[in-house]
């Protein structure tokens, strides 16, 4: 049954939405493939893992950045990965693919569509990432000063240290754990995974070794910052009727989205409390984080070590919660896909490792300006009732 037919029977407003397929590309510091080829491979693989064909997708939404790729309307070229003929229903956000997921999720909740394909992609190696991100800052007061992303992140890290909420050792501990996790993640940037695999001795000794490194922007050292990364990620969504059919007929394990919300804060870094993430906390509350069992795995888009500490605090994650078992953004940071990869990793924890409730976080803008929280569950909200 195609949702192109108005009033397709069985489509109820607000039907729960599940992740039924996903795929993440290998992550590299310089991909030889074009961006659309990266997209083609993850779209094909995500569809295969969902049991749905290209022509069974009712809505497509992608996240990417023309500034990153250096061309006008490059997101249109990326549609070549989808097979957009005859014409399809499609949208694009100039944001991380996690925000494309948000748009597709809303669309499935309120529209006629039952299935959606979401993808995010970026080749950060193509342009000068630091300069590109400087240009996304306020064009009057910040960009003319050359406020590069590393400097802005370092101002936030210093604020956290000055407030007594973290030490440089705490930052190094986050980095050390991320590198060790990267060593077991086949999709991590190879250089980070190799660094994690090469770490010898206990965690304390490794932290000592990391703290001996020079600052790149004090108090941040190279291991506190993400690798320049090329990569792509795709997710397939379905409403409950389709998801349960795929489960029954094809053995697909649906992972249910039980909450998804995002909030934004003032852009000027000096006009908010950099030691907290109010928008993350609000997004978590709005996504119903407190309304279910404990979150067992949290995948956080902490691009710099100190951000993980701020986000843990803002979300009030329990000590039992495993944070960034994939290595997180310190292991691979495919700009415009990093947040969507977190969603996939959080879904993977349920579908492949038996977790019951997990969380994914995405961020945008300098110093955690805008934040999205997605809560995933092995059971839909209907089943929970």
């Amino acid at each position: 049954m195609s949702a192109d037919e108005p009033g397709a029977p069985g489509k109820t407003f607000g039907e729960p939405v599940a992740i039924v397929g996903y795929a993440v590309s290998p992550m590299s510091e310089f991909a030889e493939q074009t961006e659309v080829q990266l997209c083609l491979d993850v779209v094909t693989a995500a569809l295969a893992s969902s049991g749905l064909g290209r022509k069974e997708i009712d809505f497509t939404c992608s996240g990417s950045s023309d500034y990153l790729s250096g061309g006008t309307f490059t997101f249109v070229a990326n549609l070549d990965a989808v097979g957009a003929w005859p014409p399809i229903r499609e949208s694009h956000v100039e944001m991380d693919g996690a925000w494309a997921l948000h748009e597709a999720w809303v669309r499935l909740l309120i529209g006629e569509e039952r299935t959606a394909l979401v993808f995010g992609s970026g080749k950060a190696s193509t342009g000068e990432l630091s300069r590109v991100l400087t240009l996304q800052t306020d064009p009057y007061y910040l960009a003319p000063l050359g406020t590069d992303p590393l400097s802005l992140a370092a101002l936030q890290a210093r604020a956290l240290l000055e407030a007594g909420k973290a030490t440089e050792r705490d930052l190094a501990a986050v980095a050390a754990r991320a590198r060790r996790a990267a060593a077991t993640n086949p999709l991590a940037v190879p250089a980070v995974a190799a660094a994690g695999a090469a770490a010898v001795g206990d965690l304390d000794a490794e932290i000592d070794a990391l703290l001996a490194a020079e600052y790149v922007r004090s108090p941040l050292r190279a291991h506190d910052t993400p690798p320049v990364t090329d990569g792509a990620c795709a997710v397939v969504l379905a409403t409950a009727t389709v998801a349960r059919r795929l489960a029954a007929e094809q053995g697909i394990t649906p992972v249910w989205i039980t909450g998804l919300e995002h909030f934004v804060e003032p852009h000027q870094p000096g006009m908010r409390d950099l030691t907290d993430s109010v928008s993350t906390r609000r997004a978590g509350e709005a996504a119903g984080l407190a309304d279910g069992g404990p979150v067992e795995v949290a995948e956080l888009s902490a691009l710099h070590s100190h951000e993980e500490i701020i986000l843990r605090g803002a979300l009030g994650l329990p000590d039992t919660c495993e944070v960034n078992p994939s290595g997180g953004a310190l292991a691979a940071n495919p700009t415009m896909a990093t947040g969507l990869v977190r969603v996939v990793e959080a879904a993977r924890a349920i579908r492949e490792r038996g977790a019951r409730r997990t969380l994914a976080h995405a961020t945008s803008g300098p110093c955690l300006q805008q934040n999205l929280v997605c809560v995933l569950d092995e059971a839909s909200t209907e089943e929970a009732r």
Binding site: W85, E128, G270
Partner: protein, 357 residues
């Protein structure tokens, strides 16, 4: 990273620089802030409304970012002294940074302001920085009507040796003597330049080689039978991968199925000055369409749909592959100078009705 890529991949990396000359309207608040800088004065603005009402925002904005309420628009004097709240050290500045010597970026709360602004501190060395450090502003000695007329800050009590900047008192005296305007500055220019590098894809490399040898190259999808120019190693209709085995040499004759006449507007880097034509060419014998092609020796007013054309190849010695990037929608620049009329009778529209692009 581009640098390592260049050594790793040798000449098969394409480079492309994109530049935007922005001219931004400043409005009364930012424009007023900039105008005051010429007098050695930093300003903030008072927010209104219940929540956060009455606090002084610096840098000044049109609205209070906490509430969305409009600020009162009255600029109030703050600084020039202030206190460092957070900082980081830029040991190796690059061209976009405000100083060419090591400096600090800092969050500075100016005296009289309730918020902090990001700015640079010329402190000599990292050891001089700490939260709570008192700093004072330095202004451009020859103001340009830009936000960066506020040049940077220095620790209080520092002697200034940089001849390009002055302290607040000297800037005020200079402005009074010169009769500097107090009207808000209207616009500010900002030149953006970004360079992109990427590996030339195998499909693009094959296309470039073929074009240099004088043969148009396409790729045929075994599923839908469509022919794409240039090859891209996938079919955008079926979403499947293709490879060299699907490459197809194409005829260099065809029919114009669509055209447009572009009247150039002047912008930096614009090479065309007179109206010019771009045509879509459907090649003979195959279902391959090439868009945005130039014409040779056809007056603009004579270009029409249905006109039979053939490629005009550059002499082999003059051909180059500089324009063949991964994103080409069938660019022939560097191998073909354009398409000229063959003089054969026009082809009726029924033959190519769905092939107009």
């Amino acid at each position: 990273m581009p640098v390592s890529a260049e050594t790793k991949y040798g000449p098969s990396v394409t480079t492309n620089t994109v530049e935007f000359p922005y001219r931004r309207s400043l409005g009364p608040v930012v424009g007023g802030f900039v105008a005051a800088l010429a007098r050695g004065q930093i300003t903030g603005v008072r927010s209104t409304g219940v929540r956060g009402g009455g606090r002084v925002l610096c840098p000044p904005l049109e609205y209070d970012p906490d509430t969305g309420a409009a600020t009162d628009g009255e600029l109030v004097d703050v600084g020039p002294e202030g206190t460092v709240r957070s900082w980081t050290w830029v040991a190796a500045p690059d061209a976009r940074h405000p100083l060419d010597r090591p400096f600090a970026f800092a969050l500075i709360q100016l005296d009289g302001a309730d918020t902090a602004m990001v700015h640079a501190v010329d402190a000599g060395g990292e050891d001089a920085l700490r939260a709570g450090l008192r700093v004072t502003a330095r202004f451009r000695a020859q103001p340009k009507g830009r936000t960066d007329d506020l040049a940077y800050f220095v620790p209080e009590g520092t002697e200034t040796t940089d001849p390009d900047v002055v302290d607040a008192a000297a800037a005020a005296a200079g402005a009074a003597a010169a009769g500097v305007s107090t009207e808000p500055v209207q616009t500010m220019e900002f030149w953006s330049s970004l360079t992109y590098k990427e590996a030339v894809s195998p499909a693009t490399a094959r296309y470039a080689r073929s074009m240099l040898a004088g043969t148009l190259l396409g790729q045929k999808c075994p599923t839908c039978a469509k022919v794409f120019v240039p090859p891209r190693d996938f079919c955008s209709i079926d979403g499947i991968r293709l490879d060299e085995g699907h490459d197809l040499a194409l005829p260099d004759r065809g029919v114009i199925t669509n055209f447009t006449i572009v009247t150039p507007v002047p912008y930096p880097g614009q090479k065309e000055t007179e109206p010019f034509v771009r045509v879509s060419v459907l090649l003979d014998d195959v279902e391959a369409l090439m868009g945005l092609q130039p014409v040779v020796d056809i007056p603009n007013e004579e270009v029409r749909v249905g006109m039979r054309v053939e490629a005009v190849w550059l002499p082999e010695s003059e051909r180059n592959a500089e324009e063949f990037g991964n994103r080409g929608w069938g660019s022939t620049t560097g191998a073909i100078s354009g398409w000229r009329a063959t003089g054969e009778p026009d082809l009726p529209v029924e033959r190519y009705i769905d092939r107009v692009f």
